[in-house]
């Protein structure tokens, strides 16, 4: 298997991200060299604007490539412009090439494309948020790390092979460790960085052990079947070998468990979630937003691809019951159902007494991971149609989750910039200090709480529906109950914003680009709620790829 020239357009967004990262790395060098505030602001703005522009352009290129907005007809006239578009779209998910992953390692199907778009958009909005912020030290490096991490996430979304998976996770994580601890003179930030790092390193150990066991099973199966070829790390190959071997052994299941645990830490699933509240609270707010959204999206897509392509044999039921017959392990769906249950309970209950807004939202984000898992649990449905509903609901939820969390953390960041604190009490009387910001905040929080017609509502409704159809009724009921509980802490935030009088009536300014980022997120929250079809039609494409 060789890398072909036609593969280049297929990974064009990734290549462009790399180029952008290198450009940004050097960007602040060309600005004034001084330690004055003005010079630092100048450096910061230079890097931020380059990063934002670049990410925006890559987003547009990826959109053109995807063909979701506009698909070049086959009989289009040939000219310079159409040639570019055609070449781009030939590398897109709709082309023939996309049916097989590049070198068996990197799939460029619709699932990857959606993951890419969400991740790059999240990075774009994050960078916009930071544009007007107090300048960071070494801005060029700061944005390079964000872009590098984005690249890793894109790779995670498309990874269809174990080595690639490991490398993509590391490429995502290493910059995030640094970013979480970026304010190295801030104790909370360094603490967040270290906790994230230690936990991440440990999890990658677990993940690797899971990989070795999975590989071991595949190797044993290959030897017994006399199969040859050096591609036992590909998801697809493992699935074939497992299928031919018949009864899956416990070794494979063990490997799968370790893999789930290793990725589970990234998607903040209880009991692998311990690091997340601390890191979310301690990390710089835009980084928290980025970790909570983009990294989770990529991880969920990876988890989905890994589980459904590698371990369809081990799917099982959506029930958590003691198996009646020996030797019937009920598979990863029941494991995930159990984890979803724990995640919902722990995430929502722990959020109740929090006094720090960031920490509260961290727990809320854990709780949302529980809802997201329900979309995966729906894979246990016997009908292909219901399984498709599961993946569609998962992807819709991921998109909605990303925009609303970026927004809500963004508002906190604006307030934080002004007040230098992220306790709930600093939100007091926000409605009087900046009504527009308060309204945006309300939109995001209501969406998180699942109030129609915002996208958060339909997201919840859809995963509930999918899980219900897959036979996880009990989980849906738990989900509904925890939704009611969650309302209590979301309302606490709103109560602070609208009801509790502030210490001071001094207005909180919203800088232009921060406001742009927030308004974009809010618009998406509303539009996706009112016209979910816009992306549901796109998501429909995924089912054809993943729905085997």
């Amino acid at each position: 298997m060789q890398f072909a020239l036609t593969d280049v357009p297929r990974i064009l967004p990734e290549i462009l991200l790399l180029v952008l990262a290198l450009l940004v790395l050097g960007s602040d060098v060309f600005e004034r060299w001084a330690n004055t505030d003005a010079a630092r602001t100048e450096q910061h703005r230079a890097s931020a604007s380059l990063a934002a522009l670049g990410l925006g352009m890559i987003l547009i290129i990826a959109l053109i490539q995807s063909g979701y907005v506009y698909r070049l007809p086959d009989d289009a006239p040939i000219n310079f412009l159409t040639n570019i578009v055609r070449n781009l779209q030939n590398g897109g998910p709709a082309s023939e090439l996309a049916t097989t992953p590049i070198l068996g390692a990197f799939a460029t199907d619709d699932l990857t494309m959606i993951g890419r778009l969400v991740v790059i958009a999240a990075a774009f909005l994050t960078v916009l948020l930071t544009y007007d912020a107090r300048p960071t030290a070494n801005p060029g490096e700061f944005y390079t790390l964000i872009i590098g991490s984005t690249l890793g996430m894109c790779l995670m979304a498309g990874s269809s092979e174990l080595i690639m998976t490991f490398l993509a996770i590391e490429l995502t994580s290493i910059p995030l460790y640094v970013l979480a601890g970026y304010f190295r003179n801030d104790r909370q930030s360094t603490e967040a960085g270290m906790k994230y790092f230690l936990f991440g390193a440990m999890s990658s150990g677990i993940l690797l052990y899971g990989m070795s066991l999975t590989y071991g099973y595949a190797a044993t199966a290959a030897v017994t079947q006399g199969s040859t070829g050096n591609n036992l790390t590909q998801f697809e190959r493992i699935r074939e070998l497992v299928a031919q071997a018949g009864e899956p052994t416990v070794l494979l299941t063990l490997g799968m468990l370790f893999l789930i645990a290793g990725i589970g830490y990234k998607v903040t699933v209880v009991p692998f979630h311990g690091w997340s509240p601390d890191v979310y609270q301690g990390a710089p707010t835009p980084i928290t937003a980025f970790i909570a959204t983009a990294s989770k999206v990529a991880s969920f897509i990876l988890l989905f691809r890994l589980l459904t392509t590698t371990f369809p044999v081990l799917t099982g039921a959506a029930d958590v019951i003691i198996p009646v017959e020996a030797s019937t392990f009920t598979g990863w769906t029941s494991l995930l159902a159990l984890l979803a249950f724990l995640t919902l309970i722990v995430g929502n209950l722990a959020a109740l007494p929090q006094t720090n807004a960031k920490r509260l939202l961290a727990y809320s984000s854990i709780a949302h991971a529980g809802f997201l898992l329900m979309g995966l649990v729906a894979w246990s449905a016997s009908l292909a149609m219901d399984r498709e509903a599961g993946i569609a609901s998962l992807l819709y939820y991921l998109v909605a989750y990303t925009v609303m969390n970026l927004g809500v953390f963004g508002v906190l960041y604006v307030v934080d910039q002004h007040t230098r604190s992220d306790e709930i009490s600093v939100l007091n009387g926000l409605a009087r200090r900046n009504l527009g910001l308060a309204v945006l905040f309300t939109i995001f929080v209501f969406s998180l709480a699942g109030i129609p017609p915002l996208s958060g509502f339909f997201a919840k409704f859809y995963v509930f529906m999918a899980a219900w159809q897959a036979g996880a009724e009990w989980l849906v009921i738990v989900g509904l109950i925890t939704t009611i509980i969650s309302l209590y802490y979301y309302l606490r935030l709103l109560r602070a914003v609208f009801i509790v009088p502030p210490d001071t009536d001094a207005p909180i300014p919203t800088p232009r680009w921060m406001a742009t980022s927030l308004v974009l997120s809010a618009l998406l929250v509303i539009v996706l709620g009112l016209f979910p079809n816009i992306i549901l039609t796109i998501i429909d494409n995924v089912q054809a790829v993943a729905g085997r």
């Binding site: 104790r187 603490e191 230690l198 990658s204 150990g205 070795s212 044993t220 036992l232 601390d278």
Partner: protein, 100 residues
Amino acid sequence: MVPISYYIMLSAALFTLGVLGVLIRRNAIVVFMSVELMLNAANLALVAFALQRGGIDGQVLVFFVITVAAAEVAVGLALLVAIFRNKRTADVDEVNQLHG
């Protein structure tokens, strides 16, 4: 020839030792060393499986792991140094300002 399962068991034992180190040691550097031990244990199992299979892919994975581990160690130690500057300690238990 040595049966492959011997290697696997040794690997399991080393992995467990690594886990134990993570759980009971308080010096962040040692915790990190224990993580390296876990990685090594996994590497051992990979190479053993690769031999049994007669394939090269296990070895390739190990190669990548070693390379990435180098990068990870560098970043990790840099973080440790940063936190040491702030707190004058490498004890993970002292780093617990964020909780609740």
